[in-house]
């Protein structure tokens, strides 16, 4: 079988891909697998064996990597692959109906390929277009292209199949960007990428020039310290502490990593930044690399964000041509360049150590901490890793000073914050506010209020977040204010549900998300996310078993207390918050 396959395969594309990457060894595994699959449509055994041989990776481990990532296939799939988002934000807009329509058009069940090999239909986790769902990620063509479409309906999903309409035309989402402030997002939401010259025209790259030509690395870190910039990816860790730790670590070389694996359900801010104003993010990263003395920057962008990948690549070319990247940047003697890495369908790779493993060409298993990335990060070397939005904040701090930055926010939550509002509001979109504004201001004034009914609930912080009730509308949006209310800001996702929505269905989808995205490494999460999903399926159908509430508690606490990484530790958070606020949802009850 293997031999006959090999005989019919043209290995020329594989050879040229390998020739371009072979020197990088195992670290090139994911890029090579993605490029190779784009040529062959999947990863045939003979082709995979050749990749393993040339990159010096054991055969079994290459197989394990392919098996881990949802966007990699070791069996043939359809010429068009439709991945329909049915997570909460898209579900409110009819994700299930779009999935059903896609299956009907293809004549398949979900997860299957049509008999003629034309179409594969899959259910997808959140695709980060929550303000413009239903979104569908589509792979098609030869060599394959990948596009994430927005505003898809049951009537239009057929047009996404190759040869039936839309895949040849541009059909990008338009993001609504608004808010009280425009510090980070002035050049976003315009339906196109802001070019370097435009960014420079409004003062862009001046912060990098200032840092490299007038500041020591230590002074840059001190500015971040004074500004009290907290990480915007979800953990709210002080940025300066990461930079300081990596700067002080004695080992060389050092790496700077931009975490653009945005996958938290309801979150799309990093995509909007990278699609609209990538130079700002990259400027922040070059400043960070200078601060810690990194010789290389990696930006790891989730595989379902092809437009962001394309636009960051274009921005990098402009930055290199203008002398902001490469050797001896701006005559400072500091040299660094950026390498883009695409994810391949794994939420867990947003966890920093899993992300390192992925860049290293492995399954995205989180590592045991300590040791921490500042001393043992990417390739075991000192590494600073920051979220996209965090880095987009840094140029302002250097130009306008830490005090000005602090004044934009509240006491302990400084600066501006991007909030991703989706669900039942008049204007779903990305809102830039100063910390301290209330949820009421965000939802009623900025997003235009609730539609389709009265406000029932808000899910704050994504799947790993917590539910708030209308009684909590006057809570100030700060890390501390939300924590005091038993909430968490997390990644800045705020999903709004009106009172016609069945929250049990939302809970079921959150549980399914975690079960799908658990890496399987530690037992509490590997087993607990599955058991939690099964129980919530019963809850959502209105017929939980006696004892299910106790089971949910034990499973949830065990995941929260004993899991190895943040995924498992937060996999029960939203469910717990719902149990506290609406205990009746978990009792026997007819579904509306």
């Amino acid at each position: 079988m293997a031999e006959s396959l090999a005989a019919s395969l043209d290995l020329t594309p594989l050879r040229s891909i390998l020739a371009a990457h072979a020197d990088a060894g195992r670290s090139a595994l994911l890029p090579v697998l993605l490029e190779t699959q784009a040529h062959y449509g999947y990863l045939p055994q003979a082709v995979t064996a050749e990749i393993a041989h040339r990159l010096g990776v054991p055969l079994a481990e290459v197989h394990g990597v392919i098996e881990f990532y949802a966007l990699l296939y070791n069996k043939p799939v359809g010429r068009t692959v439709l991945r329909v988002c049915t997570d909460p934000a898209c579900a409110l807009r009819g994700g299930d109906a779009v999935l059903a329509a896609a299956c009907a058009v293809a004549g398949v069940e979900e997860g299957e390929t049509s008999a003629d090999g034309a179409v594969t239909v899959e259910r997808s986790p959140c695709l980060g277009h929550c303000n413009s769902g239903v979104s569908v990620n589509v792979t098609f063509g030869k060599p394959q292209r990948n596009i994430t479409f927005a505003h898809v309906t049951p009537d239009t999903v057929e047009e996404l199949i190759e040869g039936r309409g839309r895949t040849t035309a541009d059909f990008w989402s338009e993001d609504y960007v608004g808010g009280d402030l425009s510090i980070v997002t002035p050049l976003c939401g315009r339906g196109r990428r802001t070019r370097l010259v435009e960014y420079e025209a409004v003062g862009g790259m001046q912060a990098l020039r200032k840092a490299l030509t007038t500041m020591t690395p230590a002074a840059v870190i001190e500015a971040m310290h004074q500004a009290d910039l907290l990480g915007r990816g979800g953990a709210a860790f002080p940025t300066w502490a990461k930079w300081d730790g990596a700067a002080r670590a004695p080992e060389q070389p050092k790496y700077f990593v931009i975490n653009a694996d945005e996958s938290e359900p309801g979150t799309f801010k990093d995509r909007v930044l990278l699609e609209g104003d990538p130079c700002r993010v990259l400027e922040g990263a070059i400043i960070g690399a200078y601060a810690i003395g990194a010789s290389r920057i990696y930006i790891y962008i989730r595989g379902e964000y092809p437009l962001a990948i394309e636009r960051v690549e274009a921005a990098l070319q402009e930055l290199r041509a203008a002398g902001y990247l490469g050797e001896n940047i701006l005559g400072s003697g500091f040299s660094v360049d950026v390498e883009i890495r695409s994810g391949a369908g794994a939420y867990i790779c947003g966890e920093e150590t899993a992300l390192f493993e992925s860049i290293e060409g492995k399954r995205g298993f989180p590592r045991v901490k300590p040791p921490f990335p500042t001393t043992h990060g990417l390739f075991g070397k000192p590494t600073a890793i920051n979220n996209v939005e965090t880095l987009a904040q840094t140029p302002y701090i250097l130009i306008h000073g830490p005090d000005a930055f602090q004044r934009l926010g509240a006491a302990e939550s400084t600066g501006p914050k991007l909030l991703c509002v989706s669900g039942d509001v008049v204007r779903p979109g990305l809102y830039e506010i100063g910390f301290g504004a209330t949820l009421r201001h965000l939802i009623e004034n900025l997003a235009g209020g609730v539609i389709g009914g009265k406000l029932q609930a808000m899910l704050i912080g994504g799947a790993a977040g917590a539910f708030a009730t209308p009684a909590e509308l006057d809570t100030p949006i700060t890390f501390q204010g939300l924590r005091a209310a038993g909430l968490t800001l997390g990644s800045g996702a705020i999903m709004v549900f009106n009172d016609t929505r069945d929250l049990r269905d939302i809970l079921r989808r959150l549980a399914r998300f975690f079960a799908h995205e658990s890496c399987g490494k530690c037992y509490p999460c590997q087993l607990g996310t599955q058991r939690q999903y099964e129980i919530l399926e019963r809850v959502a159908s209105g017929v939980p078993l006696p004892g299910d509430v106790d089971r949910l508690r034990d499973v949830g606490w065990t995941m929260s207390d004993a899991s190895l990484c943040g995924l498992g530790q937060t996999a029960a958070a939203a469910i717990f918050s719902a149990m506290k606020r609406w205990p009746q949802l978990f009792e026997n009850g007819k579904v509306q």
Binding site: T48, E67, H516, L527, D554, V555, Q569
Partner: protein
């Protein structure tokens, strides 16, 4: 090597500064349960059965990899610890055939884990793989402790025949494109069978005896297989 003093379950103990909580507890005769841990393998802290409560730490800590620190106060049987251990064992029992895992059965009794705590739970029930003359792979009994993968790789043999299929609950130990073991890099060293804690990997002869075959029948079977294999080679 300098030493540190800490408290475990109210008892003071002095241990080398690079010792783990598991090791320090061992010197006191305190038994912390483990599943994935094996003295000859790299500890990965994946089963989490060894979690303990360390004062001033928000989360439970895996004793197999957490290093002791001066002044540390550890509780190995607190309510939180007991709940996590019991629930992990109950969830494992709901997913995997533990009939050949007497140590885990004893742990279930010790922690009052209920059998069938999770009704209607999906179980992992792949058919046994009988693809080589040496050993059987019955992954319905596999608890994903990773020991076999580790000894096949850098922890011992550097053979790299094993990796993983799938992820999350759907994870299973697998080979390159799920090839039968004789077509992989496996050298049949048997180390994976030696470290398997649950009978998922076992010598084929033992397995055939369990299936009710007599020694004579097994001899006849293996002879027939050898003849067949010789003919295939010619």
């Amino acid at each position: 090597m300098s030493e540190v003093t800490l408290t475990i379950d109210g008892q003071t103990v002095t241990a080398a500064e690079d010792a783990t909580i598991l090791q320090a507890a061992g010197t006191l005769g305190i038994d912390i349960p483990t599943i994935c841990y094996h003295a000859a393998c790299t500890a990965n802290a994946i089963c989490r059965l060894c979690v303990v409560e360390v004062e001033k730490q928000r989360l439970l800590q895996p004793a197999c990899v957490t290093q002791v620190r001066a002044g540390m106060v550890v509780h190995t049987r607190s309510e939180r610890v007991e709940r996590s251990r019991r629930t992990i064992l109950e969830m494992l029992d709901s997913a995997v055939d533990l009939s050949d895992a007497p140590e885990i059965q004893a742990q279930m009794a010790e922690y009052s884990a209920q059998l069938n705590r999770f009704p209607d739970a999906a179980r992992r029930t792949p058919a046994p793989i009988d693809d080589n003359p040496m050993y059987i792979r019955d992954y319905a009994k596999c608890v994903l402790c990773w020991r076999c993968v580790q000894v096949c790789a850098e922890d011992a043999q550097y053979t790299f025949a094993l990796s993983f299929d799938g992820r999350g609950f759907e994870t299973q130990i697998g080979t390159f494109f799920d090839l039968p073991m004789p077509e992989t890099t496996c050298v049949f060293c048997g180390q994976c069978v030696g470290v398997c804690p649950t009978g998922a990997l076992k010598p084929r002869r033992e397995w055939l005896l369990e299936q009710g075959k007599t020694p004579d029948e097994i001899m006849e079977l293996t002879r027939a297989e050898r003849r067949k294999s010789r003919r295939a080679k010619k």
